[in-house]
Subunit: 225 residues, 2 copies
């Protein structure tokens, strides 16, 4: 019970628990069991309990968890009881889409600006009126607006350079959508979402179904008999 180093997998599930709790709270439900949460998310009830146990004892034996209290606790654990400010690097299609993505605005997050180098984009804004500034203003904006997260939506070729600039500007948490695995110094967290990898994983699944032997090496050798 001391301090079981919390895994990434656990924190990801906390987000899912939180989402469900918000739903329940809006529906007026005020108590929930680990089994109910598990079923909704296709997990096991012990998984839910173990995840929560990393952070304290939030439930009541024989009863379950108080929806409102557990929601607040998880928000606190995830650091969502304040607003995390973020900038998006790259005002292309993806950058613009992310800037207007509902999940990235409100409920703990705020996109304060997009940064780009294209003169045709700098000075403009997204549909939600988030301003687009020149990349050179990064440090100033990070400081003035207390930005804590950088979201990288630039082409792979310039991703490392952009990540370096984020680190120089004092950013410690980066969400990277470029198809590279950027190098970052110790103490900086860079999470990569690799869309092409996700899609290729589906292609593998299809290929495997279509012909389960396709994956196996082994030329159709006419060795025996």
């Amino acid at each position: 019970m001391a301090k079981p180093r919390v895994s990434e997998l656990t924190t990801s599930r906390l987000s899912l628990y939180l989402r469900y709790l918000i739903q329940l709270e809006e529906s007026g439900v005020d108590t929930v069991s680990s089994r109910a949460m598990a079923e909704h998310l296709m997990l096991t009830s012990s998984q839910v309990r173990k995840d929560l146990a990393c952070f304290g004892e939030f439930g009541v034996r024989g009863v379950g968890y108080d929806v409102h209290e557990l929601r607040q606790q998880i928000e606190r654990i995830l650091g969502l009881d304040r607003t995390v400010r973020a900038v998006i690097l790259g005002a292309g299609n993806l950058g613009n889409a992310l800037a207007d993505y509902p999940g990235f605005n409100g409920r703990g997050f705020e996109i304060v600006a997009l940064l780009d180098v294209d003169p045709g984009k700098v000075g403009g804004s997204t549909r939600r009126d988030t301003p687009i500034h020149h990349l050179d203003e990064l440090s100033r904006i990070v400081e003035q607006e207390a930005v804590e997260v950088g979201i990288v939506a630039v082409p792979g070729e310039v991703a490392q350079e952009v990540v370096d600039r984020l680190v120089d500007a004092g950013i410690r948490a980066i969400l990277n959508f470029a198809p590279v695995r950027p190098q970052v110094p110790d103490g900086i967290r860079c999470k990569s979402v690799d869309l092409k990898v996700e899609l290729e994983s589906l292609s593998f699944f299809l290929a495997e179904q279509e012909d389960p032997e396709r994956a196996r090496h082994e030329l159709p050798a006419q060795e025996s008999a």
Copy 2:
């Protein structure tokens, strides 16, 4: 060596190996060792070898792997030696961004259409001229264009419905960007990319750094001394 059920983690790494091999091939390198690949991707060399060993013996002891051959083998394993056709559900910001995403066009993939119900969007097209059709045309398009993958970029509230329609239309592989975990029948693969979860995971990291005790339950009790 028989058939070590291949894990999702392994196939994701295969995509990364493939990307690096393509780079090497373009640079004219023709042999590579597991150590070189591992270093580039921040993995261990045994990891690389174990991953490849799931599918056959591609290397030469004392020498390494032939870049060209290994690339072809991985493309075959991932089913990228043909073109996988996909449709995008939802022609909003995200759907449009994904439709024009370079990684989703060419090199084994082709986005053949976007589908939406908004009359203001239906009949139009993306910047790359991918057409936007009405959702009701889904089955017809899937059949006529031999579509194998559905990419879900609709709001969470309608995601399950859209997924159901994809399944009905005969789609067996789904990439879901909506903030829900859709139910799918056995034999259908649905991979979810949950952008909000990724971002919240970064928030947790920041909160943890700022105050390592924040996560712990335990009111600041004035027990001792």
